[in-house]
Symmetry: C2
Amino acid sequence: MDHVANQQKTEALALRYGADAVPAAGPWNDHIALLLSHRSVRGYRPDAPPEGTLETLVATAQSAATSSNMQTWSVLSVNNPAARAELARIANDQKHIQQCPLFLVWLADVARNQRVAAEEGETLEAAPYLEAFLVAAIDAALAAQNAVVAAESLGLSTVYIGALRNEPETVSRLLGLPDGVVCLFGLCIGYAAEATSNEVKPRLPQSIVLHHETYATTGETAERHAYDLRMGAFSRRNEVSADDWTRRVIRRMGKIKAMNGRHTLRSTLERLGFPLR
Amino acid sequence: MDHVANQQKTEALALRYGADAVPAAGPWNDHIALLLSHRSVRGYRPDAPPEGTLETLVATAQSAATSSNMQTWSVLSVNNPAARAELARIANDQKHIQQCPLFLVWLADVARNQRVAAEEGETLEAAPYLEAFLVAAIDAALAAQNAVVAAESLGLSTVYIGALRNEPETVSRLLGLPDGVVCLFGLCIGYAAEATSNEVKPRLPQSIVLHHETYATTGETAERHAYDLRMGAFSRRNEVSADDWTRRVIRRMGKIKAMNGRHTLRSTLERLGFPLR
């Protein structure tokens, strides 16, 4: 690796982990640099991306691995302004859902394979099980992440919208989803507005997330305190709140109320054709 | 786009969808070409990748988006031959699990954030809910897919191993996973053995998977029949079975028996600290 590439690598890792927590990464190239540079963007210019961008992104999504080639996911592009407004409302008024030129809803979809089987006079005994839903969710996520990488390679920015799960039944009605199809998350895609913060968000030290041979928590508390300092400083530079990471975890996961209704997801999924046996 | 790039794009799309089902994709670049070229590989040379490869891959994984920065996933690298052998057994004797130089187990992990909260005298009310598990699974998948893209950019091949879910409790004992941590899938990484098939697997036509404004099934049956022909031909060229896609769906999802024990996943997860309320 030449000197310039090595310097870029060290800088990218320092932005992602903090200069005091750079992991011992080895190989490096432009693809890896692109992945390291990811940041979620919540403000978009109205400019549409070039014609065929959606189809390019979906081609990358479909190129991701899918369990036994079952392909139990779909993606739905929403342009209708009234539908966008309703989706933004569901997601606690995230204005970028209305603002971005491309908005995709990623769907767990076991209904397609059920239709295929029904046309052959068969039923799919596995479809109502948690396993089928989990495979659909994982495969949709693999697909979506390929689309995100492709979008960022084209100079576009993205942000995932998990808050569609605040009201999956409303989303189903709005988008005409049949039983056995449910929204997993949305995805805004577009060119970042200039005012948008451009700083990469630090993550937990690699030593806490990566385990060898067996799961270990040695050193976790000290590493977490160091990360709290980094995230506190990041928040003061970039956000209204100056909470450290520990406070965020407790604020986000501590109380049912902060789930915005998602504590009912299990019964909602059952009504939408996913009994999760 | 110059002539050569345009020709590469058309060829890549024809391999992924069949020459008679190329979607109207627009922008193209080397990152997108890399994503389109993905194939899962089930035979590896023993050669180890360069030092620091694991750390590079995990840095790309941690650079993927994670819901509210909660980071509720971990990854565990397994090198111990006895553990590899046991994991291969669990996964219906997939020999590549023992053969590949890097084997990673991707984990849904709400336990770390629970430990963080406990150290501050708090509990996380959201942790036992389906929503928390789903977020962990989705975020782990986004992370893993970044690692896959990075690995492929380095000339390495990969294959996801969903069959670890045949026996999640055995995997937990083997790897010392605490309550609130569970294996989602494995990942083999290494240099492809020369004998390995190199053909890109065709996917469903984009028109079936991509919906506009509302979910629609118009044309699905005819498109599926065309895909059956393509997959049948692919199978005859590359695999022992010559099943078309419809037959595969019915064989894979039609009977509980084909789930290899995964129909008990819900109760297993409950025992492993995921009550999925």
